[in-house]
Symmetry: C2
Subunit: 92 residues, 2 copies
DNA sequence: GACCAACGTTAAGTCCTCTTGACGTCAAGT
DNA sequence: ACTTGACGTCAAGAGGACTTAACGTTGGTC
């Protein structure tokens, strides 16, 4: 069975990252428009990011994490550190 | 002038992230197929990531960074830490 | 009431991230 | 010579990340 293609998305699809982004944004007192301006995207993009199951490009995620004084892993990692050791990569 | 839409990409478009991903992969002795299997994407995706100006989704980037025992910022941040303080976000 | 800021939804369009399949090249081993 | 593994390129297709524009709702102020 062929998996659907398209950008890799959150494994659980519950929009948890969007909730964390919104919380971090409010933590530093930014509006959605303010964050949008800070990272040079449209406000619609910020709304989609906060309200939906959305997978931004890594470059946008980095800009957002910096603007929110956080890190990409803190905002988007489905398995926060301490929840389990990284899976050992298979050797060739 | 309307900017072209589509995923946010590397600001300098020089494929530097791909070079870092490849170096990190070789550092731990993985083949492209091995990394592809570890992060559950196709080998073509890994090739595109390493050889082109490519902006993976943040979720794929996190999986790759973990498999390579690194971090998203280390592999994809165009401005590594220490190159400048984060820009202060505008208050509402 | 009017006005404003902030937010959420809808729509249509452009661009790119992924997928599979196939082919070719290179290097090492037998 | 042949075989195998590793890598890079090309093609076509599906899905979605972004864009602008517009509208509606909510809450606060005057």
């Amino acid at each position: 069975m062929t998996p659907p293609s398209g950008p890799v998305r959150s494994p659980d699809g519950d929009g948890a990252a969007g909730t964390r982004v919104r919380a971090a944004r409010k933590e530093i007192g930014l509006t959605q428009q303010g964050l949008a301006a800070a990272v040079q995207v449209s406000r619609q993009t910020i709304i989609a990011m906060e309200t939906g199951d959305y997978a931004p490009s890594v470059y946008l995620a980095i800009k957002v994490a910096k603007a929110l004084r956080s890190s990409v892993e803190a905002l988007w990692d489905p398995e926060p550190p301490g929840e389990g050791l990284p899976r050992a990569a298979a050797a060739p």
